[in-house]
Symmetry: C2
Subunit: 338 residues, 2 copies
């Protein structure tokens, strides 16, 4: 018998969640390894991101990701090694960032692949140097615009974007307060991630604790959650404050999103608050400079990204479900191959 | 018997409204005419503004106007004639804008009085050249920032601020759509106030009609109302749209304000919307230039402010209650004396 060719293991969306996302909304299948066409490369996925924002793509409601589908490979950005190349621009063995999805192998047009250097932990390309880091960077600096001694509040503060926002705000001279889900995570925010103060939104005294932690009010709120945390924060904003609307993680994992926070637009007027949504893709022409800045902060030790690595493609659905329940610290990614 | 001195008729706040404001929340009293002290002037009120924003000052909830009180003269900006002056800077007979309140006579420090020219209808100083016009001007141009061919949507479009926003937006080359309360007012928006299209929010098909009237979406929404209109408009905003949050008239006349609109912050993110509250007082250092621009637009006929003049101080409470019910077109003011 001939040697069996290795399969391409793929995690497909099997069904759309009606309430909370569950592991069995996914299925693991095997298919033949695809073949690269002209000006395409075959990539072997080494690491793939598990991103909370992908939950929106599974939702029937309005989302920038378009209408949801089943029986397709779950999307996700990966770091991959070129295994086969039909382009002079890419050599076999080179490392790239590509929209690999949750699978072992994928074929891409070269225009969809970005070469990366191996002078730094490759996980950072999915974290601080990837969409998360760029989101933190542009959302905080271009939308939130903190100045020295501002109080910057961050929700989902231990998360993939949040933990970088807090650190970048510190680099810019702000005082930082993180909102997270548990007292254990609060301790970690202060001990490991450099936050000046922290609050658990699950605390019975959340509003009072938020007020105490932000004794001088909030100048910049980097909002990854929306919902109750946004609602409570509106009352703590200082005059002229800025709210950078980055994500709505409180509303992703449900098919019945809650109403908007009270106090809008009344509090926005009384306090002259600017509330602005953004998507990182709008800053694409500035990615190169931002990545260069972020990389230099990492190399100098000013920025310490946390990569939360789960081992094995088959663990991806559980890693995602757990992420949505607030289980991660830093950027969650799944290691698929060396 | 000596001649009876004329009384100072005053409209006092008699009680705070628990639900909707009513005429009997006010009472008309007479008191002696006050006497000006050093560096003060005695003013005879000629016209006084009836402003929807004053309703917030009667509310127990958070408001920039501070905590409400009873048995005080209802506040309002007036045009007045100086009757007695203890200041070299003001001569008897000169016209001023001052915080007259709803009364015949009031005494002010000269620093609270602004001299005005009589080269234009004096009502304009309470409308297009007063807080309403400045609010329209700064909110639209500094916060909304319309560019040529933008679609600018205005709620309370026939109102004191709204009818000026629509006209200024037209001067800046935008297409304008007004939201108002009745089909009669819609016709008037288009026939008399220069709006390109209009929608009644009381229509059973409001959302569909709004969509049809804003076929290219909404680039700038000048929000005077909040509530349902804001909620519906969020779904019509174009990518990169701006919402200038000016007022919350939908929430003023109630002691139980509704929750915030759905879609916040989700839609703000998907569409990269900027939503910003403002108060006109923050632009005080630019008032002079703005007034000069507004006056030149009026004199050139490009801006046609509508002054909705009600005759007689005793009509002020009814004029205010009716204003809050959406009964006015343009800037409502009460004429008290010639």
């Amino acid at each position: 018998m001939a040697d069996k060719k290795p399969d391409n293991r793929q995690v497909l969306i099997d069904s759309l969640p009606e309430g909370k996302l569950a592991v069995d909304n996914y299925k693991l299948v095997s298919s033949p390894i695809p073949v690269a066409g002209d000006q395409e490369v075959l990539c072997r996925t080494l690491m793939v991101t598990i991103a909370a924002g992908s939950r929106a793509g599974l939702q029937g409601s309005a989302s920038y990701a378009g209408a949801p589908k089943t029986n397709i490979v779950m999307n996700g950005t990966g770091v991959a090694r070129v295994e086969q190349s039909n382009s002079d621009a890419f050599a076999v063995g080179e490392l790239v960032v590509c929209p690999s999805g949750w699978q072992d192998y994928s074929v891409h047009k070269t225009s969809h692949c970005t070469k990366i250097d191996d002078d730094i932990d490759i996980g950072h390309y999915l974290g601080a140097l990837g969409t998360n880091g760029l989101t933190a960077y542009f959302g905080l600096l271009n939308v939130g615009q903190p100045i020295e001694n501002d109080t910057v509040l961050v929700s989902a503060a231990a998360g993939s974007v949040g933990h970088l926002v807090g650190q970048i705000a510190k680099i810019k001279g702000a005082r930082t307060v993180g909102v997270t889900s548990t007292t254990e995570k609060c301790q970690m925010l202060e001990a490991q991630l450099g936050y000046d103060a922290s609050v658990s939104y699950k605390s019975a005294d959340f509003r009072a604790e938020l007020k105490a932690a932000c004794a001088s009010g909030v100048d910049v709120y980097f909002d990854n959650t929306g919902g109750e945390i946004l609602g409570a924060t509106l009352f703590r904003m200082n005059q002229g404050g800025r709210i950078a609307c980055c994500g709505v993680v409180s509303q992703y994992d449900t098919s019945n999103p809650a109403g908007g926070p009270r106090g809008i637009p009344g509090l926005l007027i009384n306090k002259r608050i600017k509330m602005q949504g953004f998507l990182v893709f709008d800053y694409m022409d500035q990615y190169r400079d931002a990545r260069s800045q972020l990389k230099s902060w990492i190399k100098s030790g000013q920025l310490n990204p946390v990569n939360d690595v789960v081992e094995g493609l088959e663990q991806a659905p559980e890693a995602f479900v757990n992420l949505l329940a607030g289980g991660n610290v830093g950027t969650r990614m799944v290691k698929i191959a060396d």
